[in-house]
Every structure is written in structure tokens, then in C-alpha cells.
Amino acid sequence: MISKNLFFKLMREDLKRRLWSIVLLLLVFFFALPVVAAMAPSAYRGFLEPVFLTEHMLNSVCSTLGATSPFLNVIMIGAAVLLAISGFHYLHVPKMCDFYHSQPVSRKMQFAVVYTDGVIIYAVTYLLGVLAALTVLNVGTLPGCGMVTATNLFYGYFVLLLEFLAFYSMAVIAVVLTGKVFSAICGIGVLYGFVPGVIMLVSWLMRYFMSTWNERNIEHVLYRVRFLSPAAAWFYNYEMLDKSSDTTLRVTPLAAGDITLLLLMSLVFTAIAFALHCIRPSESAGKTMAFRKTQPWLKLLLMVPGSFASGLFFSEIGGGRAWFVFGILCGTLLIGCFLEILYHTDIRAAFHGSGILLAGTAIAMLLYGALDGDWFGYDYRLPKKDKVESVSIDFNFDYWAADGLNRNLEFSYDYKLDEARYYDLDKVWPLLEHVSQREGDNQSGKNIYYGIEVAYHKKNGSTEYRSYSLDYSDPETEAYVAQIYDDPAYREQYYAICFDAFRSKLHDVRVSGEIGSEGLADVSLTKAFLDIYREELMQVGLHTILWDSPRYTVELYSGNGTLLYYPVYAECEKTIRFLEEHMNLTALQKDFSVVYVEFFDSSQQKTRRYNCWDDPEIIERISERLTLEYVDGRYTNSGKYRFGLSYMREQAEGCFWVQGVLQIGSDAAAQGSKPKDWDTENYDYLISKYYEDPMEYYALYGISYFEGMLPMNFDK
């Protein structure tokens, strides 16, 4: 009883001491909640029909005052930092520390009092803001919408309070671990950002060093380790909440597991902060770090990733591995010295702890060697086949299979590599072994590659993602791919037209040609078309898809607003006949008068034009190879033949990207240009162009691809 009385008395006294933070948060919440509630909806008045006004205002209010409000989220993180520092600041000032620790109050009690007050200050000031905002909304701006606004605002209150607990506890750990306000702020930054930062850095490094690395691995790692960092959990939760809207809440409610995770995180972080507070020596007030033993570990933990970040930075600027090594050495030295200066508050102490400095440099160089030399054979290594249950492969060349829809026709980033599964490993493994053996050889610049993404779903429930490059000009590769791609079991997983939901929701079919598009006159014909087309498309072989151009693109509209583009190849005879019977396809053709190649030179930020042809024979030949879409007033080649080329000047003046798009049109300006001589057999001419004007070389190179007459290997 005495303890309880003391606890409440101390709480009251502590609140008096922290009056300024209470007033500050009251002010912030006043402007963030009732003031915004009064202002935000008025922006829509006069612009919207009254029918839509209320709904629009409700959405606006819920997004600015609810869980996904950027302002409230920033306040939540700011309040966590502010309250942690204002509450436990006494640990940083020797006089204050002596004052509190000399009193007959245990450190446990002291922690409980200050910690609880921090939570109460945030919870109460935020609650008052919510109540004030609801009053403003119900009395003034949105009368009659009390249920929706109250549900949304209180749900936001609940979620942000949970997230505040996690952030606040982590910030308290940082304050207790340090002995100065400045180092506490740095510590909070490190604790908040370390896990996401290191994961991001690993991702960058793997992308830099490993050609088969796939970014999705990191997303999964981040998802799995989000419990280590409130920032990582917050990123994830924010995306979840913002994903779609429940009608009453106006946000997607967090799963029970995510709420439990937040609570557990808060509990664990609080327990750590509590334990550290209890063992924290009073004499550490005024020092950079409260626990001397943590100093070398912290130095090492920051120095190694920091050196790699520095390596990447210098490598990006200077180019090449030598600059990477230079960056590592600079990074370790600068971070190591900076931390020692911070520890001792003395620039002369920069080289203290040189053993750790050397150890950090050695570790960083060792890791660099391992990554650069791929000591563990990451790029060549396949998971053990007997441990893999299924694979997902996204071949990427078939844009219609890469539409990112799941079986319910909802957008799903995860469907292609997580949900679509292919179980015939005997068909997949020869391809994967073939491509993984070729990885590691730098093959860029020799041929045209398509990148593929592969997900290995293992029997233990984990998934490993890889990216490979396939050279389709290699017949062996094409044969391996055909084994999989021509298997209906594969296509049924990736072609949305095979999904049951698609058939039931399809309501319109249009065909796009060189000019405009035509739709099926009778909506009832759509299902008949789909049946014919699907059957034929499933029979179109890989070789046709890779090397032939479709004659038409069909646009398939489903009832939920989904629009899919699918190719119609010449061998889809029944489909073409069906289309010809029900629409005027000839109206979609256009007689082109000129063909030219344009490149956007990003170094000079201007478009340059090359190779204008007005020879009908060439135009006809190119037209045959293309299926066009009408974009921004001109025809482009659907992205299929879009190519990006890297270019390095001989004098090493720099490098930039050149992106080329074959354009076909009747541009008056292009009419006056004379087509250049084009000798497809003359390599010397092409190579000489490279040395004369690399830009022109690439223009020729691009056209050579379309004409399909030159081999791709210009590696001379």
C-alpha cells in the first residue's frame, strides 16, 4: 500500500516536472486534430456535387485524422523521442542523477513512474485531441457521420498508441544506454534505423556483387525481422493499413498477429529498458555511453556496415572496385575515429581503441573479399532439389502473364512468385542448372537477355528468390524453357484468362491495331471469344512467342475494371476468324510513310533521331515484326522491343543510359531526312560507326535487332 501511494505521489511530482512536454503535446494535437478536422473538409466545398461531398469529406477526414495520417504518425514518433528524453534526461546530468538516486526510491519504482508518465502524457493528450476533433466534426463539419468518424479516429488512436509504445520503449533504451542528450538522440537514431538500414545495405551489396540476387529476399527478411525494430514494424503496418479500406474503418484493420507482435515488442523493449535502468551506474551521467563495455561493440557494429555504405558511395562516384576498397578503408577510419572522439569528447582520442579499428577493417575487408570473389558460390549454387517443394518462375517476356493479378483478379504483387506454383521439378531443374552454371560469367554486351525471377519454395516453408538471365538465342536454353513454358500446368498458373474468376467477370473485348481499337459488338460474344482464344493461346509454342510478333493485341475488360492485354498470333486462326467475323479489323491498319529511331540521350537531356526510312519495303518489313500500341500520339512497340543500352565514352568522360524506342509515324520533320545507307553485312561499317559516334552505333544496333539480320555479337 505504501509503495502504491508512493508510486502515485511520485507520478504526480514527475508530471509537474514534465509540464512543458504536456503543454507542447496538447498544442500539437490541437493543431493536428480539431483544427485539421475543422479545416480539411472545407477544401472540398464548392468543388464537388453534394451527393459525393459527404463521402469525399469522410474519406479525407479519415485519412488525415486516422491511423494513416502522416502528420499523426510523425507526431507519434516525435512524441516517443521527446517523452523518452524528457522523462529519463535525469540520467544524463550528474547532479540530477545523484538527487534521484539518493532518495529512498528504488530504480525499479523510478523507472515505472517515469515510463508510465510518458505513456500517460501521450495517451491523454492524444485522446483529448481525438475528442475535440470528434466534437468539431459532429457539431460542425460532418454532422451525422459520428459512427464512421469515431470508429476511424479511435481505431487510429488504438494503433498509434500501440506503435508509440514500441517506439517509446526503444527510445528509452537508447536514453538509458547513453549518458548525454546528444548521444541519446544519436542512439535513438541508431536503434530505430539499424535493422532496416543494415537490411537495406545488405540488399544493395548483394545487388552490387551477386548477379542472381533478387530483391524479394530482403523484403522477406525485413518482414521476418520486423519485430527487432519499431521502424520496420511501422513501415509494414503503415502499408497494411493503407492497402485498402474497410467501409467503416476506412483503413485495413491490422491482423491480430500484428497487434500481438506490437504488444510483445513493446513488452520486450520495456523489459530491456527496465533491466538496463536498474543496472545503470549513476556515475555514467555525463559520459557518452553509460556502459563502457558496450563501446567497442557499438563501434564494431557501426563501423562494418558503415564502411560498406561508404564503399558503395565511393564506388558509385568513382566507379570500379578500387574505389569500393578505398571507401571501406575511409569508412572504417572515419566512423571508428568519430565514435572514439564522441566517447572521449576529445579529438585527440580519435585513435583510441585502434585494435577494434583494425578488427573492424579486417572484418570489412574479409566480407568484401567474400562478396567480390563469391567465396560461397552464391551465384552458382542451387538449393538442394530434395528440399524444394515447388518453384515459381516469372519469365518476363510474356507481358500478359506478368499482369500481377491473383486468382481473384485483385492486384497482387506476390502472386507470380509466391502463389503461382509449379511442381514438376524434373522439368525445371535442367533449366536452372543450365543458367546457374552460366551465372558469374559476365555475359553482358554479348547477347540479348531476358531476366527471369525464380522462387524456390522449400519444404520447410521458407522461400529463396533468385534472378537469372536467359539467352534465348541459345537453342539449348530455349529448349529448356520450352519444357516448362509449353506445359499447360505452367500457363494455367500465369495466364489470367485461365482463372475461373476471369471468365465470370469478363464483359468486353476490344482489339487494338496500328490505329485505334475495335470492340465486339455484342457483349454476349465475349465468353465465346475467350473460350476460342484461350484454347488457341495455350497451344502457341514458346518459339512463336519469343520470335514472332503478334498480329493483334486484344484488350480484355473485366467487370471489376481490370484491363488485360493479350497477343493474337498468326497461328491463332480460329481467333482471328472469329474477330474478323465480328469486327472490321482492316480499319485498324495504317499505311506508314516513314520509320525512324529515336534515342533519348540522358546526359544531354534531349532526343536524337537516327535512321529514317521511307522505303516502303523496309517499312513493311519492320511493320511485320511489330505489334503496336498507341501512346501519347504515336505508335510504340508495346515495350517488347524496347531496349536499354549502357554506353561508355572511350575518353572515359562518363557514362549514361541510352534508351531507344522504335517509332513509326508520319512525322513531317522526319520526311525530309534521308535514310542512311544500311549494309547489314558490313560489320566494319558498324564498328567504325561505334568509334565515330557511339550514339549512331547504338541506333544502328537497335535497328539491326528489329531487322533480325545481324548477329548480336559486336564484342570486338
Binding site: E13, R17, S102, P104, S282
Partner: protein
């Protein structure tokens, strides 16, 4: 009773307190004397339960003090520079101490503030250094604790206030056995108040003695001998001489032993004049530390 057993405390590479053994009995004033950096404040902070000893243990009334609120409820620590809550007035501190020390006497606090001429409703931040020290002492006295740990508390106080506070201490000691433990580098400051003195040097305790015992054991003799009488060396041969000085015919000796025996020995030599005068604390320390082989002049003065 406060007991320190082999207490050691280091700050980084610096050993501030090195194996202190001390016993502080209740009911008296314990003076902790030493130079700057001798370890007085560190020792006091360990007694107050602020710092945890690296080795050894400090027990108060038989129980360890560190992280032991019931034990700490019986002591009040007044640092060299007292801390008060931000923007607090004396009345706010009164409320705070009342929350922390249940036996805190608010009426006494208010009357003492009046007695010392401190405005209860004035912000403490506006007080002078001496006024802040007075306020801290008043708070300490009114907290009702048995032990009052004062670190350089008399430093910065004017002589009148110093005497007033000593008087308060004396009254509290008589009334409820208050035990002030006063750390200071100034021997003269503690002379008329301490019952027991501990001398700290370089983190260790050189000596810890009862002042009454020390005074009873060490005596200062001033004496003028007859010209035809025996030499001083012969007269004091049977006594333990700590120090001997001569100015003209006046001898000044510091002697250890029983006062009556000393007087009897000197009287037998029939000197022209002799007198046994009381030693100052400073002189006692000079003699005591010299006995253990230290030159106190170098240690303190």
C-alpha cells in the same frame, strides 16, 4: 551504525576509493576529511546508495544500502552543489520531499525557512549559493532521517549561518540522535562540531579516531625551564614526544600520554613556567599522521 568493509570504487582507470574500512556510530558527528580528490564525495555517494561499490559493501544498521529504499529512507544526502527541481520554489520542494520522505516535517520546514529568512514562494533558482545550501540543510533536517550526509556543506556559508546550522545539528542530535556525516577539506571548519574524524587520502582511510580520545591522548606543553635545571631532553625522556620546538627559552612540545603524568613529570623539573594547552584539530592531525608516517602539511594544507 554505518559500516564500510573493504569498499573500493574506480571510475575508468582512476581508483577513487581504495579498500576503505570504516565504522560510523550513530549519535555523533563524523567528519570526513581529505584533500580534493581524496575520495570523500565518492565515499559519501556510496554511503548514500547512489554509487555501487566495485568491491566491498556498505551497510547501514546491518542492511546494505544500495538499492534498498527502507534503509535509504533513514538517510538524506546533501551534495556539494544541491539540486532542486526545475522552476521549483521552496514550497514545491517541501511537497516533493514530503512525497519521498513520509516523516518529512512540513511545519518544521516552514518555521526553519522563516528562521533562516528564506522565502517559501520564491524560485530556488533565484537563491544564492549559500541560500541553496541552507535550504538543502533545512530539507535534510526536516526529512527526519537519522543520517545526514553533507558534502562540503559548510563551504560557501557565512560564519553566522555556519554557526546557526551547527546549532541546529546539535539540537537535532540531542533531540533524536541525528548523525551528521560531514565531508570537508577544511579541518578548521569541523573542529568544533565533530566527535569522530576520518582522514581520507588517495582513496584510502589514513585514520579514523574519536576526537575526544585523540584529545585525551595528545597534549601540547609550553614550558620555560630554569637555566640551572635539567635539559628538556632529560625531563621528557620518559614521555612519548611527538614534536619539539624551541623559540628562545620557550619550549613547545607535543606529547602523547596521560595528562596528569605529563604534568607531574614537568612539575618535578621545577620549570619557571609550564602550561598544558588544548590542541587544535589541525595539530592533533599533524601529530597523528606523523605517527603513521605522513606529513599532514603536505596532505591537507
Amino acid at each position: 551504525m554505518i559500516e564500510a568493509r573493504k569498499v573500493t570504487k574506480s571510475f575508468g582507470d582512476v581508483r577513487a576509493v581504495d579498500g576503505i574500512d570504516a565504522v560510523i556510530e550513530e549519535g555523533g558527528v563524523y567528519g570526513l576529511i581529505g584533500t580534493n580528490g581524496a575520495g570523500k564525495s565518492t565515499f559519501l555517494r556510496m554511503v548514500a546508495g547512489i554509487l555501487k561499490p566495485d568491491e566491498g559493501e556498505i551497510r547501514i544498521d546491518g542492511a546494505p544500502v544500495y538499492e534498498n529504499p527502507p534503509v535509504k529512507a533513514n538517510l538524506f544526502y546533501i551534495p556539494d552543489e544541491p539540486y532542486f527541481l526545475p522552476n521549483a520554489k521552496a514550497v514545491d520542494m517541501e511537497k516533493y520531499y514530503k512525497a519521498v520522505y513520509p516523516q518529512f516535517d512540513r511545519e518544521r520546514f516552514q518555521s526553519m525557512l522563516e528562521q533562516f529568512g528564506l522565502d517559501r514562494k520564491r524560485k530556488v533558482a533565484g537563491f544564492s549559493k549559500g541560500m541553496k545550501k541552507q535550504l538543502a540543510v533545512i530539507a535534510g533536517v526536516c526529512s527526519g532521517t537519522q543520517y545526514l550526509l553533507c558534502d562540503e556543506t559548510f563551504d560557501g556559508l557565512d560564519p553566522v549561518m555556519r554557526q546557526a546550522i551547527k546549532k541546529v545539528f546539535a539540537g537535532e542530535m540531542a533531540e533524536r540522535d541525528l548523525t551528521p556525516i560531514i565531508a570537508s577539506h577544511n579541518l578548521r571548519e569541523l573542529e568544533d562540531i565533530c566527535d569522530h574524524v576520518g582522514l581520507l587520502h588517495k582513496g584510502g582511510i589514513l585514520l579514523s579516531r574519536d576526537l575526544y580520545d585523540m584529545k585525551a591522548d595528545v597534549h601540547k606543553l609550553q614550558c620555560v625551564l630554569r637555566e640551572d635545571g635539567p635539559a628538556m631532553e632529560e625531563i621528557v625522556r620518559g614521555l612519548k614526544t611527538v614534536k619539539q620546538e624551541q623559540r628562545g627559552r620557550l619550549y613547545t612540545l607535543t606529547l602523547k600520554g596521560n595528562r596528569e603524568e605529563i604534568e607531574k613529570t614537568i612539575a618535578a623539573a621545577e620549570p619557571i613556567f609550564y602550561e598544558v594547552v588544548p590542541l587544535t584539530l589541525e595539530e592533533i592531525f599533524i601529530s597523528e599522521t606523523e605517527v603513521v608516517g605522513y606529513d599532514i602539511q603536505k596532505l591537507i594544507f
